[in-house]
């Protein structure tokens, strides 16, 4: 049927955009490489840390999202936006921010030492998990918060009138629907971790598959092995994705008419105190490292070199382009096969993807000339799974509520999207666009492979400054990057929420 052809075609297109470059790397590397015991150890560690990080991020996000969903306080929307920031932070900036709080010379130890508290040592497996929770808790909170907000006010009213247990009749079913997806996405993100795991893991015990890929590529130039490892990543990502999709029950909630959600449960003193504690704890955990980044960046801000500003402008253009591209790819992919195809993009190493595109494009065009478009494409592929995860529940709800009415009125194709789905999806669309823009803003990614002097992006410029002893300027540039990423995220997210239908 024609209506099925578009999603399937789009899914195949996206799958092709991932599989083709990986195949190119395979082909150039002369077939599969052999994996040694160290590689299998890396695989075991990768799986273990990803599973634990995803489980913890999701579990901790539940009380935080619940507290945020049922409490109104001044600055709430600002806090929700700010709490999303760690997820979009460039890795190197995030590491320095985390160390400023949890490191040997960090805030906690500086407060704790005079009080005679034992010294907090962040390096080790717990450091990896801590960092991954720091990165991914915001995403989990947002995904789960969205689930909470999608429960129509009427249901809470009904539950209140029946004195029914809200947790059992409304919240648990919602979480069963939302959590597997959140877990799956975070698991796949953590599969690709490299610098964070290594630095906070304290050494080679914390070796991930991505590091093995980097080594194979950079020192051994063993493309066959790099591609083999990338395929391994791909299988893991797909496995996790398929499992998460299977675990998520299909049914959703109908929409009520659009009213603010009022809650009748959790009005006692104890629930209030518990909610406040969760919000405070999460805010402190997520915002303190950001504050450290901001503080250390301020002194260098007035003297930032002009190159940093031009790189910032380039990064902004890149982020906006990637956002448009991602949404254009995502809308026809809002289906189960689409979600699986999209997971391919994030599972596979960006390095291998970039190398593959380099190999594919090389006979046609000078790769440096398409550095920015290729970076944009890879960024879009990386952001797709999040965007789809965010948009799909909304689309399914809109379809369930209005599908028959729209069909009865003869609304189809682009018109159906324009009149029904896009307005109904405005809030998640704003969130998804903000996320994509901020992610591509902070991504160092494949640009390192292609970039020339005049195509440097802001994250690359941060690395360049650090590599040239310009620590103060690097911190200031990192602050600029943080501010721009947050600004993009906030702008889109806000645009989606202002006067939004739902």
């Amino acid at each position: 049927m024609a209506q099925r052809a578009l999603p399937i075609g789009a899914a195949l297109l996206v799958a092709g955009m991932v599989i083709l470059p990986v195949t190119a790397v395979f082909w150039r590397g002369g077939g599969p490489g052999t994996l040694g015991p160290a590689d299998w150890a890396a695989l075991r560690f990768t799986l273990w840390q990803a599973a634990l990080s995803a489980a913890l991020s999701t579990a901790l996000a539940i009380p935080v999202a619940r507290a945020l969903s049922r409490r109104r306080f001044p600055g709430r929307s600002g806090l929700v936006a700010l709490m999303g920031a760690p997820f979009i932070l460039p890795v190197i900036v995030a590491i320095l921010g985390l160390l400023a709080v949890f490191g040997g010379n960090g805030l906690i130890n500086r407060i704790g030492a005079p009080l005679g508290l034992p010294r907090l040592d962040i390096y080790g497996y717990h450091g990896v998990i801590l960092a991954h929770v720091f990165f991914n808790l915001p995403l989990a909170v947002r995904l789960i918060l969205q689930g909470w907000l999608s429960i129509p006010a009427e249901r809470f009213r009904l539950a209140a009138s029946l004195d029914a247990p809200v947790w059992r009749v409304l919240e648990r079913p919602m979480l069963r629907r939302v959590c597997p997806g959140a877990f799956g996405v975070i698991f796949v993100i953590c599969l690709g971790s490299f610098a964070v795991a290594l630095t906070l893991g304290g050494g080679p015990r914390a070796t991930t598959v991505e590091l093995a890929i980097y080594q194979a590529f950079r020192f051994d130039f063993d493309l066959g092995k790099a591609a083999t490892l990338a395929v391994l990543q791909l299988c893991l990502g797909l496995g996790a994705g398929a499992l998460a999709l299977r675990l998520a029950p299909r049914e959703g909630f109908g929409t009520g008419l659009d009213r603010l959600t009022d809650r009748w449960d959790g009005r006692g003193r104890l629930p209030r105190v518990i909610d406040a504690l969760w919000i405070l704890l999460a805010a402190a955990f997520l915002l303190a490292p950001l504050g450290a980044v901001a503080l250390s960046g301020l002194p260098g801000l007035p003297a930032l070199p002009a190159e940093v500003w031009s790189a910032a402008a380039r990064s902004l253009a890149l982020a906006l382009g990637a956002t448009a591209l991602t949404l254009a790819l995502a809308l026809p992919l809002l289906s189960a096969p689409g979600e699986v195809a999209a997971l391919l993009g994030i599972s596979v190493s960006g390095l291998v993807l970039g190398t593959g595109y380099f190999l594919l494009l090389q006979p046609l065009i000078r790769p440096a000339e398409v550095a920015l478009p290729v970076t944009m494409l890879v960024n879009a592929l990386m952001a797709l799974p999040f965007v789809i995860r965010i948009l799909r529940p909304g689309l399914e709800a809109a379809r369930a509520d209005y599908g028959r009415l729209a069909a009865a009125l003869g609304l189809t194709g682009w018109r159906l999207w324009r009149i029904v789905y896009l307005p109904r999806l405005r809030r998640p669309l704003g969130f998804a666009a903000g996320l994509t823009a901020a992610l591509s803003m902070g991504d160092l990614g494949v640009i390192t492979l292609f970039a020339d002097g005049d195509t440097a992006t802001l994250p690359l410029q941060v690395y360049r400054l650090m590599g040239s002893y310009q620590m103060e300027a690097a911190r200031a540039a990192a602050l600029l990057l943080l501010a721009l990423s947050l600004g993009l995220f906030w702008g889109f997210d806000r645009g989606g929420r202002a006067n939004a239908a739902i």
Partner: protein
């Protein structure tokens, strides 16, 4: 005139058959819940496919037509209006794919007036009461100007007085515009009020419509069980 020609509908393990003709006017479908009344409406509207047999509207087969190309306007139990669109925008969808022209605007305003809501076009559905929302939905159906109107208990959520008001309004405009109406009802009083005929849906089949008053006076066994009365003589 609507005709089911050896119609068979399969949904999960449940089969519904119909081989009847429903003449013009207002007809109610009555019967126990789960008997397939709504399913039958959805088959007519094109949301549920028929396993075999045909649906005919005035001798034209419509069994496989897409919903929008059927001579049908339908009011659902809920979600009859897009909550994010104003009343005018909702109504415009019944008339045109483009920006409404001046004459179309006038028609929309007239339709709102006809359902007793003049001048409220700029509002959003959430700003209206439930009864008012039902009126707007009815206005939309009128603007769609399809000869067959299907009511899937759209007024079930309204209070008794409001419901009666809406039913009367439906009967009034249907009479004026010469529309055929097929309505699902749980409440025999609804049927009695506006439906000249009623068809009993039970045990997987749809019986031929009979005059409502007569049917309710001496109900067949299945209907009697549903109504909680003894069946009339000669029907067992």
């Amino acid at each position: 005139m609507l005709r089911f020609d050896d119609l068979l509908v399969r949904q999960g393990g449940f089969d519904l058959t119909a081989n009847i003709t429903i003449p013009a006017g207002i007809t109610a479908l009555i019967g126990p819940s789960g008997a397939g009344k709504s399913t039958l409406l959805n088959v007519i509207a094109g949301f549920v496919p028929a396993a075999s047999g045909r649906v005919l509207w005035h001798d034209t087969e419509i069994t496989t037509r897409p919903p929008a190309q059927r001579p049908v306007a339908m009011l659902f139990q809920d979600n009859n209006l897009f909550a994010h669109l104003s009343l005018t925008e909702n109504l415009a969808l019944a008339l045109t794919r483009k920006r409404p022209t001046a004459s179309e605007r006038a028609r929309m305003e007239a339709a709102l007036e006809r359902v007793g809501l003049p001048g409220l076009g700029a509002r959003k559905p959430a700003e209206l009461s439930g009864g008012q929302q039902s009126r707007v939905a009815l206005a939309r159906v009128l603007l769609q100007s399809r000869p067959l109107v299907l009511l899937d208990e759209p007024f079930a959520a309204l209070g008794p007085a409001l419901k009666i008001e809406m039913l009367d309004l439906v009967a009034e405009v249907a009479g004026e515009d010469g529309l055929q109406v097929l309505m699902v009802s749980h409440d025999p009083q609804d049927a009695l009020r506006i439906a000249t005929r009623s068809a009993v849906v039970s045990d997987g089949s749809v019986a031929a419509p009979e005059p409502t008053a007569e049917l309710l006076r001496s109900p067949p066994a299945a209907l009697a069980r549903y109504l909680g009365v003894h069946s009339g003589p000669g029907k067992e």
